[in-house]
């Protein structure tokens, strides 16, 4: 019998991480939720997360030192991914409706003005048309194998 706790059974996070400039994802916005932030110093605050039924994309995971890990993850059509909100994204997403095609791209990194602080990642939001193929399904509707 397989060991349930074998590394190969680990459920990979479905969050998109912005590991390298140029990382992007395109899909249909299927859900918007609020969760509690797990970021250090922001525990307890509510942040928005956006769930996409992806059409395509490519992004890099990051290691413990926040460096991008190659090769990038290629996002397959029809898979579900979550994008964490941040002020720039939340502002742009206010006018995006469920069922609308939307894209996110890691455009650039702006160095922090204060020493010791992380650089700001600029994530650009692209608003497309309504997805004619979306029938209201979300990741919760996906049958687990």
């Amino acid at each position: 019998m397989d060991n349930l706790f074998d590394e190969k059974n680990e459920v990979k996070s479905s969050f998109v991480s912005w590991g390298a400039v140029g990382d992007w994802i395109k899909g249909t916005l299927v859900d918007v939720r609020e969760i509690e932030s797990r970021l250090p110093g922001k525990e307890g605050t509510r942040v928005k997360v956006y769930e996409l039924k992806a059409k395509a994309g490519s992004f890099h995971n990051i290691d413990d030192k926040k460096n991008p890990i190659d090769p990038p993850i290629e996002i397959e059509d029809g898979t579900f991914w979550t994008i964490g909100g941040r002020p720039g994204i939340d502002n742009s997403m206010r006018n995006i409706r469920l069922g609308q095609i939307v894209g996110f791209k890691f455009k650039e990194e702006i160095p922090a003005k204060t020493k010791g602080f992380s650089a700001t990642k600029v994530i650009k939001v692209y608003a497309g048309e309504m997805d004619p193929d979306w029938q209201g399904e979300t990741a919760n509707d996906v049958e687990m194998p």
Binding site: K26, I101, V102, K105, Y126, G128, E129, M130, P132
Partner: protein
């Protein structure tokens, strides 16, 4: 402030050109447009600018007639010479009528596709599927295929189609083919990029597009004519006067009936064209007046 959507523009057009403000009143003499409370219907743009005889068209008609004669030259006798002559004269008419028929069908398919697109809110997947199987004509398939390519290449979004317009001062009416948004590049993207445009930019490269409100006149004839520019200029003038909207792009979209390609002619110096077109209308009015005056002046000496 948010950017105007297609629906915003549509609302303005419906408000400024309500359905009851103008209607067609075509008859056997031509196309006319009826305004409520105005006794005489207005002639159409094409009806008024017919006065201009395109040299290219006249040459073509003569060539068609000569072609007919040469094809039947061995058959010509004293007995059938007049019949051959009459048939030669009709050779261009038959071909023009056929071209007119397929042109009308292509326009109708386009109207159905764009009305569906407007109703659904997204581009229909397969334009060719709108041609009924029993009506499939290679020319229609080619033209509609070309139309689909144009819509994809320019990310076209229809706003209204077959829109009636009129002008009380000019006493003129017309039906313009299409008003919609087109997107033109303002920053080139990466060569070889299989662009994936969302909104007005490609998500994979630096391609950036700018959206323009455009007037599009659809043509299926085999060549461009000067009179098309006059026609579009007058539609442009009437539409802008009625709605107050700015139309920065006016174009003629020629759909090829044989190789699924299209060609575009963008009008230039639109203000000058509108002035010239109005002068042509005056010439047309003048010729009509002369015709009427001559009818009354039949004097026997």
């Amino acid at each position: 402030m948010r950017r105007a959507t297609a629906e915003d523009i549509r609302i303005i057009i419906r408000e400024k050109i309500p359905q009851q403000s103008v209607d067609i009143a075509h008859n056997s003499e031509g196309h006319f447009y009826k305004r409520p409370h105005i006794e005489c219907p207005y002639p159409s743009v094409n009806g008024k600018i017919n006065i201009i005889k395109e040299k290219g068209l006249m040459d073509w008609k003569m060539n068609k007639a000569l072609d007919y004669v040469f094809r039947h030259i061995k058959e010509i006798t004293e007995k059938n010479a007049m019949e051959i002559r009459d048939n030669a004269e009709m050779a261009s008419v038959v071909e023009l009528e056929e071209a007119g028929d397929i042109g009308t069908e292509i326009h109708n398919y386009r109207e159905t596709i764009f009305k569906d697109w407007i109703r659904l809110g997204y581009r229909p997947k397969d334009f060719i599927s709108y041609i009924p199987k029993d009506e499939e004509d290679i020319r229609a398939v080619s033209a509609i295929g070309a139309l689909e390519k144009f819509c994809k290449d320019y990310f076209y979004q229809p706003i209204v189609t077959e829109q009636y317009v009129y002008n009380d001062k000019l006493q003129l009416g017309g039906t313009l083919d299409d008003i919609g948004f087109i997107y033109l590049p303002v920053r080139q993207g990466m060569h070889g990029c299989d662009h994936d445009v969302i909104g007005d930019a490609c998500i994979k490269c630096e391609l950036k597009l700018k959206r323009y409100l455009a007037l599009i006149d659809l043509k299926t004839s085999n060549y461009f004519k000067n009179t098309y520019w006059i026609q579009v200029a007058l539609y442009y003038y009437m539409f802008c006067q009625l709605t107050g909207l700015k139309l920065p792009i006016q174009m003629i979209l020629k759909l090829d009936k044989y190789n699924r390609t299209y060609k575009i002619e963008r009008l230039k110096e639109i203000s000058k064209l509108v002035r010239i077109s109005k002068e042509i209308l005056k010439v047309s009015d003048g010729m009509e007046l002369i015709t009427k005056l001559r009818e009354k002046e039949f004097v026997t000496i």
